[in-house]
Each structure stands twice: as structure tokens, then as C-alpha cells.
Symmetry: C2
Subunit: 338 residues, 2 copies
Amino acid sequence: MEFTRRNLFKISAGAVVAGAVGRLSMAADDPLPSWNDGPTKKAILDFVHATTDRMSSRFVPESERIATFDQDGTLWVEHPMYSQVVYCFDRVPAVVKAKPELANVEPFKTVMSGDREAVAKLSMEDLFKILAATLTGMSVDQFAADTKHWLEKARDPRWKRPYTELTYVPMTEVLTFMRSKGYKTYIVTGGGQDFVRQYSEKAYGIPPEQVVGTAGGTKYGYDKNGRPFLTKEPKLLLNDNNAGKPEGIHMMIGRRPFAAFGNSTGDKEMLEYTKAGDGERLAMLLLHDDSEREYAYGPAQGLPETKVGTFTQALYDEARSKGWVVVSMKNDWKRVLG
Amino acid sequence: MEFTRRNLFKISAGAVVAGAVGRLSMAADDPLPSWNDGPTKKAILDFVHATTDRMSSRFVPESERIATFDQDGTLWVEHPMYSQVVYCFDRVPAVVKAKPELANVEPFKTVMSGDREAVAKLSMEDLFKILAATLTGMSVDQFAADTKHWLEKARDPRWKRPYTELTYVPMTEVLTFMRSKGYKTYIVTGGGQDFVRQYSEKAYGIPPEQVVGTAGGTKYGYDKNGRPFLTKEPKLLLNDNNAGKPEGIHMMIGRRPFAAFGNSTGDKEMLEYTKAGDGERLAMLLLHDDSEREYAYGPAQGLPETKVGTFTQALYDEARSKGWVVVSMKNDWKRVLG
């Protein structure tokens, strides 16, 4: 355990309460209790030790300790469908109510019909029309209110729980552990930056300013009382996937991460960029190989194909050849959800 | 003085050294020693007290304490010319050396001629060509190295000191004071984000990830050894001036500031946006009315016209009518530079 200002304070405060220090020491013995012992868990512990122990040759000053985490499929469940896409479909009735002329225009007509088979066949172009109509055109404050309301009432179809409860316990342990060692934890997601920022603090302890995501422009203007507000524009500024992840990290953080965590081909460039830095770097990919406790998909290692969170065999092979750590959900995690 | 974890630790560590606590208390008595007593200084102290004292009806939780600072003319000297523009002109010979065909192309030919009168007459279009040629096309790492080298050797023509030493002592006191009270301090500048990030930590204690500035896109690629790198592209993503400041704040921080500091018409929208939030908000504008210790320019209040950091009478009147605080460099500051 490193004696930082923060944990020194924790210890001195804890000492006031009888027994508290004992409990703290127990917790400190294993910061990752939901991980099975083995090389994967050891890789995380070794990396954090090597970069935060002042005696280590690979010590990293606290100000440079940046760790980036993909969200969908890395920090929480992404199957059968990204939660933000569910949000967009759920918003269509409200959009059509506000603009009744859309009721007879595709793809809104199909979505309103409730014909699931027809909805499943919508093209990417149609999907983008739905995203544009449900994610832009409103004020930033209105979008925040709509999102917050949806997050409170929406339930995942399998677990019947709010999406924000479907976070992976082992990963929240990694977040907490790394922060306790002076790492600044960032989400770097292909999901919408404004969307994820609504719950990142509550779900992960990650504040809005540490969320990098796909981002559109906003437009500054004034309401009829002269009060300024920002409107979400259908203008893409950052597509935070693939090469967009290191580009977004440079734009929003301005430093190369020392550790990066992902689970799909969209994270490949972020991991490459992270590992290309000097000194000790950690790159990890989560393989969803646990159909019982969560889902199994790849197609790496013969797992079923998927369009949501694709993990190709090529990515798996690159990971193995370059010393990136592949986490097996089935074998490395004692538990998955809280 | 609020008892946060950080200053509790400071105090307990200080107590080990005889007399240290006494000195700390003295410093705590006046966190803004370079400010003259009066309504301006009081406005800052009152604001910070109102938003950080748990007993206050206008208390703001620590996670929401965001303060944004324009840089040029607010945190450091911007006259006679923005330092980044000086950098760009200084870089022209190296650019022409790398691409000799530019020697006979305008505006590079004029810059290389050394004819100051002709250079002063260059159009905005010519200026943008110089900015594009000197700020894009190279790797992010190369740009950082070039900038760092220039910052070490360049000297301001009046004070013969590095630009990074021309920061305003009263403003660095505000930064330090606000951070000691749990505020996260950000630079929000019309200057180049990548440029300012090279020295913000050293000059102001503001890390790169807390610098929002005018930003261009980057492009991810691989060198001949397969090592990934980012190239600075001539593609503007954020023009962080005027309405671009609140837009940039939303993009990069995702929260509305509680306090904002500026000095020119380019900061107007940031201050409006800040003040439009609920609860206690602070908006401040620095008026350069001190030709002796620094410079005097407006044209507000009959001060000389300028194109560098224009502070119009309309902005001055808006400030007065809306309760924004106007800082007089001449009357409010005991000293200007360190």
C-alpha cells in the first residue's frame, strides 16, 4: 500500500473509530475481490504496483496517471442492444408527437408500427435518421432531463433492472482501485458523450468532464427572455470509435493513457496507442465468453458472431502477440453483476 | 478556512515542523495578498465563501465547482501580440527550410523578407495560411517538442523574459485560492489547445486535460515501424472564441462553470453562460488600464483601441448592468508580474 495523502487521511480518520483500521487493512489486502486469482488479476496488480510504487523503475508521477475505459461491453452490459439505441427507439413516439408530420415518414412510420421484424430490418441510414431525430434539435438541458427520466424508468429485458445497475462489479473494483492509487479514470466510449455523462458519476464515480464519447456540436443562442442556452446540433465533431478513440483522447485529455481497457474491435486503436507509449503500459480486452452469467459473443475463439461489440479472431491474435491481456469473463471473474 | 481532506493533511504535516502552522494561518488570513482591499477583492472572497461554506444557502458540492479562465490578457500578457502568433512567425524559416518551394510563395516570402512594415500589413487570409503551415501537418509529438524548445528560448520584447514568466501574480493567487477551496480550474482560451497545454501545468498548475482551446482534428496513422502516431490536421473542430467558448465548455467539461474570468469581447458569451446558471455565480472581466506596469487598451472607458484583446464600451456597459465584476488592473492590483 502506498502512503498517499488521501489514504493517510483515511487511516488517521479510521483510527478514531475502534476497529476501523483493521477493516481497512483487510480491504487493502485484496483490492480486487471479485477477480479469481491468476495471471489476469496479477497483471492488473503488477501494473498498478509498478507504476505507483516510488521505488519502482517504472514509477509514473501522479499527474500522468491516466486510465481509459471503453463503456459498452467493458464496464456494463451491451447485449442484446446498446442502451442508448434503446433510448433512441423509446424516444420516437415523443418525437412524432412533437412533429406529427413524421408519422407517415420512414423510418419513423415503421418504428411507430411496433412491427419488430420490420424494425430489425432497418438500414444503417434509417438508424442514423432515428439517432439524429432523438439526439439533436433540443436544448442540452432538455436532453439531460429526457435522458434522466428514461434512465429511471427503463429496464433491461433480461434482468428487469435499470441499465445503470448492470455494471460489472470486477470492473468497478478496478476503477476504485486505480483511483485509490492516484489514477484519473476516464470513459472513452463510442456512445454519445452527452448521454453517458448523465449517469457516469452515479454508476462509476466518473465525473462528466472525464467522459470522452461520440460528440456532436452545439449552438449557442438566446431564448425569448434573453437567457442563453445550447442546442444540440446534427453535426458530428468526434466519432469516438476505432481511430477516433486516440484522436478523442488527444483532443479531450491531451495525454497518452498508461492503461486502457476495451472489449471490441472499436477499441483496438486505443489499446495500440496506449501501448506505444514509453515505460509500463497496460492494455486489456474483455472477452464475453459467459453465456450463463451474461452473454457469449466474439467471433474470436469460436464464440457466436455479433454486430454489437464484435471481438474478431484477428483482434484476439493481435492481443496475444503484443502482450495485451485478454480477460475471460467466465474464468477470471468470481461474479459479474452486483 | 474550510477543513477539506487536503488542507487537514497540510495542517497535520505542518504541525511537525515548529512554527509551520503559524505561517499557514497567516497565509490563510489573506489568500489574495496582491489584491488591494476593496469591492473587487471582496467580490471574489465573498463568492468563494458563499459557494464553499457548508452553512451557506448557496453552497455548491465540490464536484460541481468549476471555474474557467480565459488565458491571453486574463492570466498573462497578450500585448503587443499573442505569444502563439509570435511562435507561428518564428516558425516560418523552419517551415520554408523543410519546403523550399514556399520561399517564393506569399505570405511566406514577405515573412522571410524581414520587412516589418509589409508583415504588419498581411491580411487575415495570409495570417491563416501562416497558422496552418506552422500549426498543422506535423505529428503531435513533434509539435510538442517544437513548442517546448521555442518556449525556452523566446523572450518578450519589453521584459526580456520568457513568456511563461509573464503571468499575472494576482490571477495566479485566484487560481491557487480557488483550488484550495475545491474548485477545478480550467483555461478556456481562443489560443490553440495543443499550444497552451505545453506550459499550462508549469505556468498555472493547470494540467493539460483542463485546457479547453481552439482545437483542430488529428489523424491516427502508423510510421514505417508500425508504431502509431497522431498528425495535426488543418481541420478546425472548435473555434474557442465568443459563442465557441460555452460550446467548448459543454463539449470538454460538460458542466456549467460557477465562475468565469475574461478580459475581452471574445469572453462575453462565456460570462453570460456562466451567470445564467442557478445559484451564486461569478463573472469577472479584467480591464487593462495600466500603461505603466503593463498596457492600457479598450476602447472601453476611453482607453486606446486595439485589435488584440478588444474590450468594447458595450461590453463594459453590459458588465455593469448585469453585475459582472470589472477588475481595474491599475486600482485593484498591488502588483502585476512576478
